[in-house]
Symmetry: C2
Subunit: 394 residues, 2 copies
Amino acid sequence: MPIASHIRKNMGEGGWIRRMFEVGLVMKAQHGADNVFDLSLGNPVMEPPQEFQQELLRLARQPAAGMHRYMPNAGYPETRQAVAEGLTQETGVAFTRDEIVMTCGAAAALNVILRTILNPGDEVIILSPYFGEYVYYIDNHQGMPVIVPTDAGFQPDLAAIEAAITPRTRALLINSPNNPSGVVYTSQRLAALGDLLRRAQTRHGGQIFLISDEPYRRIIFDGLTYPQALPHYENSIIAYSHAKDLALPGERIGYVAVSPHCADRKELVDGVVFCHRTLGFVNAPALMQHVVRALQGVSVDASQYQRKRDFLCGQLTEMGYSLVKPQGAFYLFPKSPIPDDVAFVEALQEYNVLTVPGRGFGTPGHFRIAYCLEDRVLEGAMPGFARAAERFGL
Amino acid sequence: MPIASHIRKNMGEGGWIRRMFEVGLVMKAQHGADNVFDLSLGNPVMEPPQEFQQELLRLARQPAAGMHRYMPNAGYPETRQAVAEGLTQETGVAFTRDEIVMTCGAAAALNVILRTILNPGDEVIILSPYFGEYVYYIDNHQGMPVIVPTDAGFQPDLAAIEAAITPRTRALLINSPNNPSGVVYTSQRLAALGDLLRRAQTRHGGQIFLISDEPYRRIIFDGLTYPQALPHYENSIIAYSHAKDLALPGERIGYVAVSPHCADRKELVDGVVFCHRTLGFVNAPALMQHVVRALQGVSVDASQYQRKRDFLCGQLTEMGYSLVKPQGAFYLFPKSPIPDDVAFVEALQEYNVLTVPGRGFGTPGHFRIAYCLEDRVLEGAMPGFARAAERFGL
């Protein structure tokens, strides 16, 4: 057989989001794209901001010599400088470019961080519901995922996290605003998390990293200021992507930012650069590095997502669905009306509505809606949700 | 300590090319860029072809809706179709887009292939001199590199390869035109290699893959037609990059092509797509996929590299250096005048000439020259080579 046995096993078990995406492609071919309401993939329908288009055009019009060549593996110093300045403003922690490594998006950033820090068998705590790919990322580098459920509001459960920490715990990986719940972890909770990790480090003697996966950091509602994780804990590492804030998920551009207060941070950054190179990323795409350098303050208009959230939360609640109203990202994670979330998602498919079962996020009994879509699609999906609600007695 | 122990070990041992690149940056800051002759990195000084600039400008001028969004992880069907058509022409083997997966360059392609096929402890044969990163790629996915030297002309040594094959052999990884030797493996040798692997498969009962890393396939001299490996062996996989043919190494765009004759090829391709996604590459950069779709027949002018090769081979031979005159890529791999190649490379540094010691390619006693540079730099390095030749009694 051509595939390694552990890969075959992983392929069989998961990939719910992509599986639904592929189902959607088939259904659209069958029923016509306008008659299928595909709420399965976080593929923003918004176009990148005007500033992005202008910057790309400027670079294409006046190509600079060498602009597509290799640069230092960590990325262009100027781009890293711009990122450092932006992060300093956002976090209140003074970053320099020496703490920034440009990467091929957040998925790359996470793989590279894990490759850098994990000895075989090291444990990485993730909080369910979590982005389903995390378990593959951890497995890629011979780590062991340790899954800790969040509380009823999808906030980190501090007591449960504390109980899960062992001498093999190497990192806690968090994601706020969260995919799939959309929930933004509160400052209080993050501050307490920092204290907890600091205590655990003292207890166990090892270094425990807080990895904060923040691709939705700029998609925040209700006038909220993003509650930063990094200032609350020294051994923090941010994984970032411009996929969502600039609406270019296909372009693979993001970064790793290591806290300036991280112990032995130079060695850690060197390791990240080495692993980014040797895992085959080599460097973040040159052209996109040029583009995002000028766009560190720019984001898509999050109020459009807020409006969509309000529409969906209102409609679904009225139909009887139970959900936590989130304050970020572009996902909802309602309770499935029946315990079997896969059966429920399949029922929705009968009404041409595509969502993703909660078990794809380590949380059966829920389902995920991605609403980074045209209003037409969201509105079109409502009758299907209503029929499903009726069918299952909500 | 923040870095996993095996990563720290790998970091300590190698990365000669990048180490020299970084030394070069320091030396240039010290002596002025014009006074340092940096022949260490394969970072083409040529600009991308006119067709590339035009296509990029066209796409930037008329942005299509959704052109920066996610696409299927394997890449845009249209781009894969264009690659399949080009490969069909070049190899004489009928490819369809179903055998093509667009990747973030060849380094990504190789990591993804290895992740897909390797069970822990599987052996991968590489032929020295080899691209030094291969050992990290194999180590990333828990494989074991088995190093087999080439013959005096840097051609595959068939008897030595046959002797190295064991029941744990999972793949043979070749690279022609070769980095660092520039040598193009002959058709006869590749045909015999196919026969050899076929026999070994029968003997051992497992599937052995021939992975052909071909980023320099279009940089060929002396009117040679590129001797394809793939048509000679069913279980072949090509790793390709547009870094060199379109002179855009910073952009990370390439592909995996699985032979249409490969056993269980659908499962293999599905595995490659899965691993490309879960290793964090997700998909090849969208914009570059749009660009290269239209450029499958386009390459930089290889005759410029041929001219540089002729200049260097002539000069160095005259000085007494011993070398194999290569027919592709943009590297030379002369013998070091003294057995200790690191000492020799350090001696060249005293004359402000930067090269890479052969041990970075598994072949001590040689050194690599990258000549994808301006003539001015190559000419400027000649006095340094002459002084070193004199110093070591050539």
